[in-house]
């Protein structure tokens, strides 16, 4: 058997596929962040906590109300999205005229409060959430065993990411949103309710995070810190892709998942830092990010 870079090609394909799976979570989460930053100019540090809430709401729906995974996939993002709308109306909307830093501090503080509340109630070890029976098992691809559920994660995240990109870049609604970001006063003058548009956008970004949370529940431990571990990486993804760039965050999300996957094969000890090394290099060479528009 011939080898590529010291490992059999089958193993390499397997690892690339796994990288793509992790990349889907990065893409979904960084997409939500990009939407919120692009349209609200808020650096939403609560995103990790909202991802965690998505997973927990799915768990609660199942254990308290007997509602299964498929319904939770729709319900949990809606429920968490509504909490996002409330947060935006009550708190974030008061900060739009201030510096970015205030929004960052507020959302970071909120994330700590939310995580603390869940930790007090549910502990840290996490809660079991089974893979839905329709997606259990897996396929043998020849070079690896692909659990059906992971395949589903990649497919559904791609669809959701592309749909979001399409709505924002190619539809009339998206055009309103982009226009409202450029010049809210003028768009308001055309009779469009700009504050409501912004609130709903935040709710949507949050719902995307919760959606990723529900997808993650069956494969990662559902625990209050699950988002805190991930959000730092996701921020790096957003910075590399270019703050606010929708397509940039999707491509970078999947791409960095692949790079991280390869690092896990060749130098596992470095897999936790590789994304930050790339971030540092990108910031030096292209400070606006790979897909960002220079201000």
């Amino acid at each position: 058997m011939f080898e590529l870079l010291g490992i059999p090609p089958q193993a390499l394909f397997g690892q690339l596929l796994l990288g793509l799976i992790n990349g889907s979570f990065y893409a979904l989460l960084s997409l939500g962040l990009a939407v919120i930053f692009g349209l609200l100019n808020i650096i939403n540090f609560t995103h990790g906590a909202q991802y965690m809430m998505g997973a927990f709401v799915a768990w609660m729906l199942l254990n308290y109300l007997g509602i299964n995974y498929w319904a939770a996939l729709v319900l949990a993002p809606v429920i968490v999205g509504i909490t996002g709308v409330i947060i935006e109306r009550l708190l974030i909307s008061r900060l739009y005229h201030l510096d970015h830093l205030y929004g960052l501090l507020l959302t970071f503080g909120l994330a700590l409060v939310i995580q603390g509340l869940f930790r007090n109630e549910y502990g840290i070890s996490g809660l079991p959430y089974q893979i839905p029976p329709q997606l259990s098992g897996g396929m043998n691809l020849g070079f690896m065993f692909l659990p059906n559920y992971r395949g589903w994660v990649v497919a559904v995240s791609l669809v959701v990411c592309l749909a979001t990109w399409f709505v924002i870049e190619k539809t009339r609604l998206g055009a309103y949103l982009r226009a409202a970001t450029e010049n809210p006063t003028l768009v308001g003058a055309f009779g469009i309710n700009v504050p409501r548009l912004i609130t709903l956008t935040y709710g949507f970004g949050v719902a995307l995070a919760a959606f990723a949370g529900v997808l993650a529940a069956p494969i990662y431990s559902v625990n209050p810190n699950m988002g805190a571990d991930l959000i730092i990486v996701v921020f790096a993804v957003v910075v590399i892709g270019g703050m606010g760039s929708i397509l940039g965050s999707i491509i970078t999300g999947f791409g960095l998942g692949l790079i991280e996957g390869l690092t896990r094969v060749f130098y596992p000890e470095g897999s936790a830092v590789v994304i930050f090394v790339i971030m540092a290099i990108v910031l030096l060479v292209k400070p606006a990010g790979l897909f960002g528009r220079a201000a």
């Binding site: 796994l18 840290i124 070890s125 897999s271």
Partner: protein, 400 residues
């Protein structure tokens, strides 16, 4: 008559005086552990509850010893642990630090405790170096260590025919020590290690490493990690069909709270080594029930049990020496045999190693389990004299 009265007075005075002397003994216990991260459920607030129970069960107040318990979060970081330990010893008058999971943090506190001549009773950390090259006259390592885990689970797996090992190791002091000790056991028993991957601590996605293990041709994947990392590894091993494909998983350090989080469906059949399980005998059941009442219904882990037993033994030594001079108390703790409801009778060796039986458990199937927290069946007892590394093999400078 006068003489008798004088004598009585003197006796009363003496009693009062000695009473006063003892009443002046006030000790401050610092519970230092993970309050919010991956090890918070297996140590955390539960360890504080356990320490308080030890103080109550010892009747410290009636014996004239006032005990104050303080606690802090070391976030599993050695630098944070060092800062808190120094602050506690130098400024807050803490006499003894207990628990301290995360081996790198424990080794840091070990050094500081020795430098300040205080007492350190470790329950949470794994590295056998605490009673090996890094051993200290001021440290007792109570509950378990990597050598004991390696010999418990490692030997059992090799005996069951799993000869070719692949390690999934958390890349810090604990994981490395556990991998080293298990490798020694596997090789001594005629097995071999076909590969190792060291993952960053803490991690969340292990599928990539598991896939490497899967294609390595190993019979068994040894998980030299702990807490949330172990939970995610086992969960994902089941998802990727590794256990169904014939490879066995050896969780080298698995706690009761990990099984609770995994659920029996995923965890069933796992073999693991612990020094304490709540449902072993009447003594452990009674204590654990009281513990659960004070701790939101959660059953204790061996780490929390070790904190209880360690604090209890420390207080006995304070009572016996009539003071809290660290050198005298440490000498007394090693001289007196230990006895408590949770670990039975035991001793503390010269190198600081607490000696007691260890147990090999198997996780029950969902059908065998009678309800929440009914998770283990006992497979074997590893007698105290075989459970821990022999005194002369640890390279502890105190022993030579």
């Amino acid at each position: 008559m006068t003489r008798i009265r004088n004598f009585t007075l003197a006796a009363v005075a003496a009693t009062l005086l000695s009473g006063t002397a003892l009443a002046e003994t006030s000790v401050k216990i610092g519970v230092l552990n993970d309050r919010s991260g991956v090890y918070a459920d297996l140590s955390g607030e539960g360890s504080v509850v356990a320490a308080q129970m030890a103080v109550e069960d010892f009747n410290a107040a009636e014996k004239g010893i006032t005990v104050e318990i303080v606690s802090a979060d070391h976030q599993n970081k050695p630098d944070v642990a060092s800062t808190i330990a120094r602050q506690w010893y130098d400024q807050d008058g803490v006499d003894v630090i207990v628990d301290v999971p995360t081996s790198s943090a424990a080794l840091a506190v070990n050094d500081i405790t020795r430098e300040k001549n205080k007492v350190f009773i470790n329950s949470g950390a794994g590295t056998a170096d605490l009673t090996g090259p890094q051993c200290s006259p001021n440290t007792v390592h109570w509950t378990y260590d990597t050598w004991a885990l390696a010999h418990g689970t490692g030997s059992a797996m090799v005996e069951a025919g799993h000869k070719k090992w692949f390690f999934l190791t958390a890349d810090y002091a604990f994981g490395q020590a556990l991998e080293r000790d298990t490798t020694a056991v596997v090789e001594a028993a005629g097995g071999e290690v076909v590969g190792t991957v060291r993952h960053p601590f803490p991690g969340s996605d292990f599928s990539s490493f598991l896939l490497q293990a899967q294609s390595s041709g190993a019979d068994v994947i040894g998980l030299a990690n702990a807490g949330g990392d172990t939970i995610n590894s086992i969960k994902q091993a089941s998802e990727f069909g590794i256990t169904q494909g014939g490879q066995a998983i050896a969780g080298l350090l698995v706690f009761l709270t990990d099984i609770h989080a995994l659920g029996l469906e995923t965890a069933q059949g796992l073999v693991l080594t612990e020094s304490f399980y709540w449902d072993q005998n009447d003594g452990t059941r009674e204590w654990s029930k009281r513990f659960a009442e004070k701790h939101d219904g959660d059953m204790p882990t061996m780490v929390q049990a070790g904190v209880y037993a360690g604090v209890l033994h420390y207080l006995k030594a304070v009572e016996a020496t009539g003071g809290k001079d660290p050198t005298a108390v440490m000498a007394k703790m090693k001289e007196m045999p230990t006895e408590d409801e949770l670990f039975g009778q035991g001793t503390i060796r010269e190198d600081g190693r607490k000696i007691h039986d260890m147990y090999l458990f198997r996780v029950k199937t969902p059908d065998q389990s009678q309800g929440p927290w009914d998770y283990y069946e006992q497979v074997a007892t590893i007698p105290a004299d075989q459970a821990f590394r022999p005194l002369n093999e640890g390279n502890c400078p105190l022993v030579q």
